[in-house]
Subunit: 528 residues, 2 copies
């Protein structure tokens, strides 16, 4: 038989094994192999495999199509472990796009990226607020909700309906149909993955904290209610346990942490700080509460990044004048996490707060106000703000921020210490997520939240969960690699013991009680 | 972990690998493997495999069940090539039966056997007329019917609905529920298999006669519309091509033809005569039109076997008196295929017909009547028949029978000749089907339809298609063996050439022009 191989050889990691042209020998009286088996046999030769599967629904369409196409066709493929799956067929001259969809399944926000399966090119991107927010803002509330009758089904329906709607909109904007999507990858935390699959998450939050599934593997989109091509398969990222989900494994995969010769670190700051340290030989992970203050959710004027939100601040150490930057340069309405860190760093470097984070009246001067018996520093006076009111940060806000930054640094010290290194020995420091995209490492170092590494060791990854999900669509070998990453991760339980508390206390100073750890931080300390 | 293996070791081929007890270590803070992965991991160890799959629907049921059962359970398994499938779970003390269903998917009749998957024991058997008979009696009519809009769907619905109804009835009679059936095996001819799967059969009857599928493999019962356990899988026997179906491969498998050291033959006589000759080294198959007269369908008084139908006849060579046996000893209403062969043999041996099959008036005497200008022999006079009319066989009936028996013998000569042996060298002669159950080899040899072998070489297989389907439920290695049988079969096209016609002409005599081929046939020939 004559099988031609049109496997697109593209440079680097953009090869696509998913779209192949197959030219079948036409049947004759001497060669009466059935249509379906003829195609499978050709693909086995082409793919050098002994396992090729075609769904019954697709088999039903073969007789007419093969004859119309004179036995020349393109096959859209996916892979389930060792088994290749034919998810669709098309004529060789069909100009249609075969798309893949990567999904970052966030607790708060879900982000989608549409790719061309034949070359890995991004076709479009879209996001939507997780519709489960109507049930509860956090995972805990949602898991409790599943214990009501119909609760799990409701949460599952919310996320699936939301996804289907956004898929339709995203496809339309790319001039595609949902039917053009043949492969989907999904990275989310363990609980979100359970809710997405419609499986019971309740044991995740009860000792001994057992998920129902660690390795969902490959599922049929139709079995999950996802409205894309009927033959499409969904790869769901595996998790390590209740507190270390597929989103983080996607991040490790995207950062290539598992293949580096020198130890590197990946930090994803959300409600929790999730941290992985590792190299090509080992991977160690932990998670701890460090986040709220860092997300902008704690300060009274805090909010998530958006137009008019303060994301950068400079304080002139001589005049104490604030140089404020807002997103889209609109009048300021509030401050996001990276803005708060900038602000704290600048206040500290200019002496407006002391090494314990206390506002220094002598330096703050007229910027200081007492509101409801509590010291507030006016960052933007009412006349300059978009809200018509002062934008202020209170002593309580600063205390909260300092606890968060101390928790973060303690976690970093603890996890690196567990493998016998210090934070300063990390060759690369990857910061993931929205936080990572906006944070100024200089500021985070100034307040002693992140270690005082040479600045070029810091790398912002952006949405590494989405990045990992998209990357997983690029090679048939990647699902195995992702599972290997999972197998290699050692999860470190953060025991809040005396040692941890001692470290935490030391880290509650700016930048740290041990200033030798932060040689680059030069402080102008006013007398208090 | 503590995995116990309750694999039932039973004697001979009644081992069942399908029901296993698994005792899982309960999760702890130190061992937080997810529920589903915990079960899969235990089964991998137990089954010594690296591929175990659980459907999403079953995963959803695990959290409550595992906790209720304290992590001890029985798994009901099936296998899809190298991949083990968990089709159901039960508590270790659950007394429920896990059943398998074997189906012989006949064009005319469908027969079901229910088995206990844990020990291979038969629980019950039932059959029903193929409801597709309302569309057409034969495959050709039905395939043409599929070319009407909705025709394929209608035929598929008829067979699936009929099957589901009979499954319900059969289960009820065995005090089971259809949900207790976890595995199904189906053996049918190629066209029936296509109609059963709801896939287009039209290219089967058009040159170059290509089925849509040769190896359907394992499918989900729900995908086929079969109402048994939701997790149940269906193994559909493979075919070699349009004219050699899964029913025959089931027959070879059941007869063990593929493992015999000496060449043996399997003959299945229906509308077509289907013949396989082979041993452990080779298998050669062919099919040819030989049947109608042998099914009782040709003679005017012919009918399929049933109460009151003549199935055996003896003629006293001295008195020419007929000693007639009917099924259930009821007054005779007609004659079935085996009865016709008995009759022809007895007529020949007693000299009432000559070597060309012509009625001999001098010997037949008053039994001969002329009806509508054609000679008829009265087998049962009106006063003794249940119909109130003479039961007769006409000269035309006899001519038709002789053409059929000649075709059969010619096919046997041709297929054995193609591998350089004669029919007389066959170590075992398996006769399958209803025909095989009732036929008297002595009679078939007397008229030269079957070769003159020592009588103990003849073996009746009964319903070998059903037998093969049931056997396929007994071991996880059998699906591979069945596919190996398929791969080994060489299909011989019966070219009706001059050589074939010469053989056919010689075989149209009783028992044959070359009487040396039938030394055991002792004829009392009257002078004509």
């Amino acid at each position: 038989m004559d099988y031609s191989n049109s496997f697109l050889k593209l440079p680097n990691n953009t090869d696509s094994p998913w779209v192949r042209t197959v030219r079948l020998a036409k049947p004759t009286l001497q060669d009466n192999t059935a249509d379906s088996d003829r195609l499978i046999s050709a693909l086995k030769t082409d793919l050098q495999t002994d396992a090729v599967h075609i769904d019954l629904d697709l088999i039903k369409k073969l007789p007419d199509r093969l004859r119309k196409w004179e036995y020349n066709l393109r096959c859209i493929l996916f892979k389930d472990r060792r088994r290749w799956l034919v998810t669709g067929v098309a004529g060789v001259n069909d100009a249609r796009t075969f798309a893949g969809l990567a999904v970052d399944l966030g607790t708060t926000k879900v982000v989608l990226r549409l790719l061309d399966l034949s070359d890995g090119r991004t076709l479009g991107e879209s996001g939507f607020d997780n519709p489960q927010l109507v049930v509860g803002p956090d995972i805990l509330a949602r898991i409790h909700f599943t214990e009501n009758a119909g609760g799990l089904e409701r949460l599952n329906e919310l996320i699936i309906t939301g996804l289907n709607q956004t898929v339709r909109d995203l496809c339309r904007s790319c001039r595609l149909e949902p039917q053009d999507i043949h492969a989907v990858t999904v990275a989310g935390n363990t609980a979100m993955t359970h809710l997405f699959m419609g499986i019971d998450p309740r044991w995740i939050i009860r000792e001994p904290y057992i998920p129902l599934i660690n390795k969902p593997g490959i599922l049929k989109a139709t079995d999950l209610g996802i409205q894309v091509n009927d033959g499409a398969r969904v790869f769901i990222f595996p998790n390590v346990g209740s507190y270390f989900g597929g989103d983080l494994i996607a991040g490790i995969f995207f950062a290539d942490l598992h293949q580096q010769s020198d130890a590197a670190i990946l930090v994803d700051v959300g409600t929790n700080a999730e941290v992985v340290v590792g190299n090509e030989n080992w991977l160690i992970a932990c998670a701890g509460a460090a986040g709220p203050a860092l997300e902008g959710g704690v300060t009274r004027m805090g909010m998530t990044a958006g137009p008019g939100v303060i994301d950068q601040i400079k304080v002139d150490a001589t005049t104490m004048a604030f140089d404020i930057h807002t997103i889209d340069n609109l009048p300021p309405i509030g401050i996001c996490g990276s803005g708060v860190i900038d602000l704290a760093a600048q206040l500290f470097l200019s002496g407006m707060i002391d090494i314990r984070g206390r506002l220094v009246p002598a330096v703050c001067g007229s910027k200081l106000k007492i509101v409801e018996g509590l010291s507030h520093l006016v960052v933007v006076p009412a006349e300059n703000s978009a809200t018509g009111a002062d934008l202020t940060i209170s002593q309580a806000d600063l205390d909260s921020l300092i606890r968060s930054k101390a928790a973060m640094y303690t976690i970093l010290e603890t996890i690196t210490g567990s493998v016998g290194i210090t934070p300063h020995e990390l060759a690369t420091f990857y910061v993931a997520g929205t936080f990572g995209s906006f944070i100024n490492p200089e500021s985070a170092i100034s307040i002693g939240m992140l270690p005082d590494l040479p600045r070029d060791r810091y790398q912002s990854l952006g949405n590494s969960s989405l990045g990992g999900a998209a990357l997983a669509l690029e090679s048939d070998s990647y699902h195995d690699k992702i599972n290997q990453i999972r197998e290699r991760i050692t999860y470190l339980e953060l025991n809040v013991n005396q040692d941890f508390m001692n470290r935490f206390s030391a880290a509650k100073f700016l930048p740290h009680t041990n200033t030798k750890l932060f040689p680059s931080v030069k402080v102008v300390q006013a007398s208090t």
